[in-house]
């Protein structure tokens, strides 16, 4: 069964002469365990598509299905619940909570998915060790490099073992060496955790790493290319 499906999904902003079809009748399906890139030039609708898939936004028309289930008409609370349990997010600018330590940032994700305080600490520490930050648990985000912050963000997204990980241009704010390390890490975790990774980029180097490339232009799907692993 597909982990995620967009069926004729559109997202329009504004109306009349200022109407922007950020996403236009877009259909795509993602299977469990994929390592897929969504690529396209700036303004083509990548973030819009990822926001719909991540249930951060509602389509103007069409349907978003997660785990085979339509999310149309669900309440804000129900959508939040699904996000908390099934979806992990990694952002371009890391988006760590500045007043929380690396460990607490990861714990926060567990806490928000409803886990008890007793177990969150250990799980969070494990997850940070997995991304190679086992000895920087108590650092605040401003005491970490960009690559380290993004690894904390990856640990935070992975710790609740989501079925789907969404990363919007995860390497755009990193130099190419660090970016590659982060991609290595994501690729490894994709193998080990059997989680679906879906990330956007317009960097050809990054596209190389994906096993499937979905190309988007002006809100429309223009190419869907699967490659051998």
């Amino acid at each position: 069964m597909a982990i995620c499906e967009l069926e004729n999904a559109s997202r329009h902003y504004g109306s009349g002469p200022t109407l922007v079809k950020a996403l236009d009748d877009f259909s795509v399906t993602f299977q469990p365990g994929e390592f897929t890139v969504l690529s396209g030039p700036s303004g083509s609708g990548k973030t819009t598509a990822l926001n719909l898939i991540g249930l951060l936004d509602n389509p103007t028309s069409g349907v978003v299905k997660i785990d085979g289930q339509s999310t149309a008409g669900l309440s804000s609370r129900a959508l939040t619940e699904i996000r908390g349990h099934k979806i992990g997010f990694i952002f371009q600018s890391f988006n760590l909570v500045p007043v929380l330590s690396a460990l607490e940032n990861v714990e926060l994700a567990l806490h928000l998915s409803g886990l008890d305080e007793g177990v969150t600490r250990e799980l969070a520490a494990e997850s940070l060790a997995e991304v190679g930050l086992g000895d920087l648990l108590d650092r605040r985000p401003n005491q970490l490099s960009g690559g380290q912050q993004q690894r904390v963000a990856i640990a935070r997204a992975l710790v609740k073992k989501p079925k789907l990980l969404i990363a919007d241009e995860p390497t755009a704010n990193l130099d190419s060496k660090t970016g590659n390390q982060v991609l290595d890490l994501m690729a490894r975790l994709n193998q080990e955790h059997d989680a679906t990774f879906l990330f956007s980029t317009h960097d050809p180097m990054v596209m190389e790493r994906a096993r499937r490339v979905v190309k988007i232009l002006d809100g429309r799907l223009v190419e869907d290319e699967k490659r051998g692993a």
Partner: protein
């Protein structure tokens, strides 16, 4: 719990700004606590002064003036045997006084005074003298004609112990009379008005002077329980007839206590006005915090924080400000009321010069604030509730941001 921790840490992100918006909470709670301590203390002080000055109940001629130095000597009354036995049975102790307003003359100086002619046996029982400061001694009823004068009169006429003064009176019959008296003592009773204009003379000395033997202007009584005074007064009126009027510590202080309530209301009003300002300040502060952290809110919503969670986080931040500000305000307000509860505050100093008192205002020189630990808790809770309510609006606003818009926001 992590959300509370987060709210606490967020509080420290803009320490200066948050401290500023806490100032008015501190002041509001301080004013409410200190104002209540003062106003309630003043009420009790008025009661205490009234009771020290007049006992639990007084019987005076009907329409006798309530305050001031006018003591009509032609309105005396005489208690019958049955009146006396009724009083014996229905009070703890009672005493008769004749109060008049003669002229006290020393050399070329003179002044109108309040002269209290007292019964040396029962008077000290109704008016315990342990809080009085007495220099010299009370006149010996059997000895030569003696008088004690208050510190105010001693200051005014420059009289010292052992000197002779002349008292010039109108008698109960309306004639003029005068007598030389030896000053045996100078007293300070703590009752402001008496300490300014009062003198005391035993009945054995005063009655021949005033021609008031067997007569009374004031019956002062103490009851077993001061709260029974109003019913006692009704019974007394029925028994003693309508030539006299029974007053109680409550009825005589009524207007003053009303004024006290106004004062309390005023303090509360100022306090709540300050709290309202504090509420506006907090709402503004939390609103600014919400706008500064749009992307952070979006991130947390993406991680699974519900709208209620966002509201809780910001309301907790505001609540913290209320709690900290409230505790600081209650601490200083509590310290002040506690200190003046233990030591009293000098009313003479507070009301300006002692000499400015023109009416018979029953207050004692030392005012003891009312100190109530439970009210401190109440006032801190009020501050917390006000702060939480104030942050609710910005918190709800923050919770209604669209996660998709919020995560893309510029920092």
């Amino acid at each position: 719990m992590l959300i509370l921790k987060l709210a606490t840490r967020n509080l420290f992100r803009q320490m200066g700004r948050n401290a500023l918006s806490m100032v008015s909470i501190v002041m509001g709670v301080f004013v409410i606590v200190a104002g209540r301590g003062f106003a309630m203390g003043l009420d009790e002080n008025v009661y205490r002064a009234q009771i020290n000055d007049a006992g639990h109940t007084i019987i005076v001629p009907a329409d006798y003036p309530k305050f001031g130095i006018d003591h009509p000597i032609d309105e005396l009354y005489t208690l019958s045997e049955s009146d006396r036995s009724w009083l014996d049975e229905n009070t703890q102790v009672w005493t008769e006084r004749v109060v008049s307003s003669p002229r006290l003359i020393k050399g070329l100086d003179s002044s109108r005074v309040r002269m209290v002619a007292y019964d040396p046996v029962t008077d000290p029982v109704v008016f315990p003298r342990d809080e009085w400061t007495l220099e010299g001694s009370m006149p010996d009823p059997q000895g030569t004609n003696g008088i004690v004068i208050s510190t105010g009169v001693a200051d005014l006429l420059q009289v010292s112990i052992g000197e002779v003064v002349v008292v010039e009176v109108r008698t109960a019959d309306g004639a003029l009379n005068a007598m030389q008296l030896n000053v045996t003592g100078i007293i300070d009773t703590g009752a402001m008005f008496f300490d300014k204009v009062g003198v005391m003379v035993p009945r054995s000395v005063a009655d021949p002077l005033l021609l008031s033997t067997g007569k009374t202007s004031h019956v002062h009584a103490r009851l077993d329980n001061r709260d029974t005074a109003p019913t006692w007064a009704e019974q007394a009126s029925a028994v003693l007839g309508d030539k006299v009027e029974a007053r109680t510590w409550l009825s005589t202080t009524e207007t003053l206590i009303e004024a006290g309530k106004m004062r309390q209301t005023m303090f509360n009003f100022i306090g709540f006005a300050l709290l309202a300002m504090a509420a506006a300040g907090i709402a503004n502060t939390v609103l600014m915090a919400a706008f500064e952290r749009v992307r952070e809110i979006g991130t947390m919503r993406a991680l699974g924080m519900t709208r209620a969670g966002v509201i809780t986080m910001f309301a907790a931040e505001g609540g913290w400000m209320g709690l900290v500000g409230g505790i600081i305000g209650a601490f200083f307000g509590g310290l002040l009321t506690w200190y003046y509860n233990a030591n009293g505050i000098d009313m003479y100093a507070l009301m300006g010069a002692k000499a400015d008192l023109s009416s018979d205002y029953p207050v004692t020189a030392l005012l003891y604030f009312d100190f109530s630990p439970s009210f401190l808790v109440v006032s801190v809770s009020v501050a917390v509730v006000v702060a939480i309510l104030a942050s609710l609006y910005p918190a709800i606003l923050a919770s209604q941001m669209q996660p998709a818009d919020a995560v893309r926001a510029e920092q």
